[in-house]
Symmetry: C2
């Protein structure tokens, strides 16, 4: 019965956004997914991920991943289940991870799928704490910042998929964590995950003063997910020799003009090190990282937090919430049971 | 006869500048320098240094050296000769280095003086290629950038005291050097010292295009003496994983507003490392550095270039030329023979 053709809804890239994307950036489409040809499997997606870096793929300007093409379905991380198999490597019922999100079902060869290894983690964690957002946090904290016990680390967008894991990894390393987020709900969430000093940047527009109150003698490190005024305030607050892990500047993604930094000159006077990193340079760490994360989740060091939207028709809105501040922890879209 | 009192002219800090300093920032004064008291020597300065970092000491805002005090003589590197001695450590005729520039003569204890070691270098080189500007270039190239043979290194303010030495050290390491400076005379000077691609930023206002022409595949490293549009163009031109040594942002020293950077977000996408450094963190290297520099000058690897003004009355103008672009190599003021 799997070998009949089914219909899959998919979200296509309809219009290149200028500035902030809108619902018009996206269009719903439908395609028939026939029985898989020889050597392929048919996958029904269960979970798909929306991530800020996808904004970069909507531009033609240089980025670190190829641009999306107009009229074609978007791409992004997904977890699905094999429904029908015409290959030996995968069997019906197997869970697989792919970059073929933004669609309900598809045929593909095993070469573009990763069979989900059995761990104590729920499978959707592979899109969140044990997936690219978690690995991003891990690399930024452990490989770029390298915290020492007792240091003070400032983390922006601290309630997001990357930030919330970064906060918890930094705490596990013995650091004092200052986290910023926008709004009372997110700030309550930060306290829940153990952040020591919470800055609501919407209620406290003077970030420099807020950092001064939280860390009168300055910060030892900064994990930047925001750029702009957050980066500028962190430069101001930095102790000499502070390390900055620059992970992504969500405030810059939708901008066409540049960034005014009052304090970039302090990079010299304070001998700061600012270092950009991209998670895909560190994919060799994935197996050890997933095992480490499973242990951390098991022993309560890291808590899983996610915001879930249901149905592919809500995927564009879920993506847009990343920029309007509508998620706590990892933002996921559930496509099927 | 040395034991009579003499008159010393000195340059005092008269007015805190807003923006670019002017001659009104300074005032000439005269003091009597009596015979040295017990335990001190009287020094007559021969050479004094003017350096861009002194601009920072004219502000009250945080910097890495203490602020100058209004009404008091300025300070800066100087080479002088002991005229009279009331201590055992130094004898008349000894050459000494101090931070007591901006004055013709002074009394001081040996603890604030360094006897000039005899090398093959002329003594004033201790204020230039073998002094703080040279050490700054050495640290930025050898300790921060760490060039590999065949790499392309962009150096701004390349005709200045630091830049011109940085160019030559980078060449000695086998790098291809792109140097920027303002005006035909400076650009001719850069060609003379072996810079491979010379950018006259006054004739070529589109620095991004100029860098693209010089390095179509991008730069591996950037030695920043300028900040602002130079830094922004270097961010644009950087290859992935490029290293930036941030040495001082002369274009920022006189500014009160911030810096607009179009390309700071590229620090993430290109995984750049931006690292500020200050020469005084590396004073432990001075003896080995001076010996190395003497060898380099002896074997022709590094050529000494300096611009000399005569007489303490011209020290303020010499300092101002650092910001208007009036020096090739190290700017020195000769105070006596």
């Amino acid at each position: 019965m799997y070998l009949t053709s089914i219909t899959s809804r998919e979200i296509r890239f309809a219009r290149r956004p200028e500035g902030i994307p809108t619902l018009e950036t996206f269009a719903m489409g439908k395609v028939a997914v026939p029985a898989p040809p020889a050597g392929q499997v048919r996958v029904r997606n269960i979970w798909m991920s929306v991530d800020p870096y996808m904004r970069g793929r909507m531009m033609t300007r240089e980025s670190y991943v190829p641009s999306f093409r107009l009229g074609e379905p978007l791409e992004g991380g997904a977890i699905g289940r094999v429904e029908a198999s015409k290959c030996d490597a995968l069997a019906p019922g197997d869970l697989v991870q792919s970059m073929l999100g933004w669609r309900e079902a598809f045929n593909a060869p095993p070469s573009v799928l990763a069979k989900v290894r059995s761990t104590t983690l729920p499978p959707e964690a592979l899109l969140g704490v044990a997936g690219l957002p978690g690995l991003t946090a891990f690399v930024g904290v452990e490989k770029v910042i390298k915290p020492r016990a007792g240091e003070i680390i400032f983390i922006s967008a601290a309630s997001g998929a990357v930030g919330s894991v970064a906060c918890q990894i930094a705490k596990a390393a013995g650091a004092t964590v200052i986290g910023s987020a926008g709004g009372a709900e997110k700030c309550a969430f930060l306290r829940e995950i153990g952040v020591d000093h919470v800055i609501d940047y919407k209620a406290e527009p003077d970030l420099v003063a807020a950092l001064k109150a939280a860390a009168p003698y300055g910060i030892d490190a900064y994990f930047d997910n925001v750029g702009a005024t957050h980066l500028d305030a962190a430069l101001h607050s930095a102790k000499p020799f502070a390390r900055f892990a620059l992970c992504g500047m969500i405030s810059e993604y939708n901008k066409t003009e540049g960034t005014n930094l009052q304090n970039i000159r302090l990079t010299v006077t304070k001998r700061l090190r600012l270092e950009g990193f991209i998670v895909s340079d560190h994919f060799d760490m994935i197996p050890q990282f997933v095992d480490q994360m499973a242990r951390w989740v098991d022993n309560g060091t890291i808590k899983i937090h996610q915001t879930v939207e249901n149905g592919i028709e809500n995927a564009p809105a879920a993506f847009l919430k990343l920029f309007s501040g509508g998620n706590l922890g990892k933002m996921l879209v559930r496509l099927s049971d």
